[in-house]
């Protein structure tokens, strides 16, 4: 009898313990994360008065959003930044492959150099690059002047601003991706390389025939993560351009403004929170579409063993 009741009571106690263990994080996520998502979705259908309070306006924010040239520009800038940022992936793969060479010395030193920008505060990174990019006194233009090139005012010139930003983005993320690729490469069975070298394949051939296909699932993961990250670009642009009037004084501002920066301004500078909510819902849709698209395309280039 006691045997019959034991396990049942035991598993009930186990269940209670289970709920107790997940309660802190569960409640925290519900209050600060899950419920807010629903609220933001609701807010996107409302308009906010100057003193708080909001009224239901149906699809008004979304129709406004579709005709808003500022949104159009921000989306275009963000998409361009995201697409160009993907160039960082082959860079990371090549350096990971170089570091993965068996018996190479000094790997941890090189790895540290690449990883340093990853652990540096993005605000500091942005300030540092703003200085490097300075049109008159920046190191980059001073070096270019030595070879007789008159460099532009990189982040204040509409023709160069976005590309200058991409360079900083790649510089600060290549170390992160490199670590992930290195872990992926170290998991490739050594026998594959041994067999290939028996067959007389050189290092370059081995890279294209073995390393590249074997890390393609890792590359897929990295590309998903970096697209999602790039679409949320904020810190770099915020520090490089600032916000509000001062930012608009930068002639390249329209080439730099991103979706999240627009969200920040609408939500916390002009306090137009209903519209801001619609902007981030649009961002969510953009992220979802691009992620699904990548999953669709993966069959064409990702090799699973």
């Amino acid at each position: 009898m006691s045997d019959g009741g034991g396990p049942a009571r035991g598993s009930r106690a186990e269940a209670l313990w289970g709920y107790a263990f997940i309660a802190p994080t569960g409640l925290g996520l519900a209050i600060f994360y899950l419920w807010p998502v629903l609220q933001t979705a609701y807010f996107s259908f409302t308009e906010w008065g100057p003193f708080g309070g909001h009224t239901w306006t149906g699809l008004a924010n979304y129709t406004r959003l579709l005709g808003d040239p500022e949104v159009g520009r921000a989306v275009l800038n963000t998409l361009t930044y995201t697409a160009l940022g993907l160039l960082g992936i082959p860079v990371a793969i090549v350096f990971a492959a170089l570091l993965n060479r068996p018996g190479l010395r000094g790997v941890s030193l090189y790895r540290t150099a690449f990883f340093l920008p990853v652990v540096t505060m993005p605000v500091a990174v942005a300030m540092l690059w703003r200085w490097l990019y300075n049109g008159d006194y920046g190191l980059i233009n001073q070096v270019l002047a030595v070879v007789g090139i008159d460099g532009p005012n990189w982040i204040a010139d509409p023709a160069t601003a976005l590309y200058a930003l991409v360079v900083v983005g790649i510089w600060s993320s290549v170390g992160y991706n490199l670590i992930i690729f290195l872990a992926g490469m170290q998991a490739i069975p050594k026998e594959l390389y041994e067999a290939a070298s028996m067959d007389g394949a050189g290092r370059v051939r081995q890279f294209f025939r073995i390393t590249l296909p074997m890390v393609s699932p890792t590359a897929f993961f990295v590309s998903i993560v970096s697209v999602i990250g790039s679409l949320q670009l904020f810190d770099l642009v915020f520090v490089m351009t600032g916000s509000g009037k001062a930012a608009r004084a930068n002639p390249a501002y329209t080439r730099l403004q991103t979706v999240v920066q627009l969200f920040y301004e609408r939500a916390f500078v002009t306090n137009d929170r209903g519209y801001a909510a619609a902007v981030v819902i649009a961002l969510l849709v953009l992220i979802a579409v691009l992620t699904v698209l990548q999953f669709r395309l993966q069959r064409r280039w990702v090799h699973y063993v």
Binding site: G18, I22, L29, Y110, Y137, A267, L284
Partner: protein, 271 residues
């Protein structure tokens, strides 16, 4: 393997490593110059020992307060996440209870949503509680992490069950098993979560910028961004400020390099 020495590989890696760290070197050099020598054409490459730029950062900003705010915020988030995430992760990995998979799915769904979607309602919660411009505001939402639960669950799942079974037969309850057996075994996972949380908390900009607008309550990230807005062109001071703000995490990274790297590698391979 009998290989010829990989000189070419070293050359490529050395040059690119130098390119990676050159901006930092220039940051240090600039931070030790006067404004006029920083803007000299052609540039000078030697630092000049102008340590007063560093003192100036403390004059222009409540830097001491901001530093302390950042330390407390980061420590609070790390402690909260390591405790709460490991509890939830242990339950999801080992305990059986109705709705477990559904709840885990719900936790994971938070990971799929860009964080900007949480901000407006979170801000309203803080405002309702009267928490704007407070340490609670920058700590509390950061105590909970779906990512941490996911990461640690992987660690718990990989641990052998035998030790737990033995403890259970000895009459240990779930809390004791979690606290005195599982936590010590999952230490590498806890350290990985701790260093990643520290990195993200220390460098976080958006949320602290939004909730704490009083300079005394700002974090370093937000404070520096504000400094940049006001002293746009005093580059030596800006470089000094950005250097001391990012140095603590860089120092932790240098000491705990292996744990950082493993943490990052885990987010990739187990994702």
């Amino acid at each position: 393997m009998s290989e010829r020495r990989p000189l070419g590989v070293h050359a490529v890696l050395a040059v690119s490593s130098l390119l990676m760290v050159a901006p930092f070197a220039w940051q240090i050099v600039t931070s030790l110059k006067t404004l006029s020598s920083a803007t000299a054409v052609p540039p000078t490459f030697l630092p000049e020992g102008r340590w007063d730029n560093y003192a100036k950062v403390f004059d222009l900003l409540p830097f001491g307060e901001q530093f302390l705010n950042t330390v407390v915020m980061s420590a609070g988030r790390v402690a909260g996440q390591v405790l709460f995430c490991s509890m939830a992760a242990y339950a999801f990995a080992r305990l059986r209870f109705p709705g477990r998979n559904l709840l885990f799915g719900l936790f994971l769904s938070v990971l799929m949503v860009p964080p900007q979607l949480f901000v407006i309602p979170q801000y309203q919660i803080m405002s309702t509680l009267g928490w704007l411009n407070s340490l609670q505001a920058i700590i509390v939402p950061g105590l909970f992490s779906a990512f941490g639960v996911f990461l640690l669950r992987q660690f718990f799942l990989a641990l052998p069950r035998e030790i737990e079974e033995a403890a259970r037969l000895d009459g240990a309850g779930p809390w004791r098993i979690y606290w005195s057996i599982m936590l010590p075994l999952a230490r590498p996972g806890l350290v990985a979560l701790a260093v990643l949380t520290l990195l993200w908390a220390w460098n976080d900009l958006f949320w602290p910028l939004v909730v704490n607008t009083d300079p005394e309550r700002m974090t370093l990230s937000a404070g520096l961004a504000a400094l940049q807005g006001q002293y746009q062109t005093d580059y030596p001071v800006l470089m000094a400020g950005s250097l001391i703000a990012s140095l603590p995490v860089i120092a932790v990274f240098v000491f705990l390099q292996r744990q950082f790297i493993q943490g990052i590698a885990h987010t990739g391979t187990k994702g």
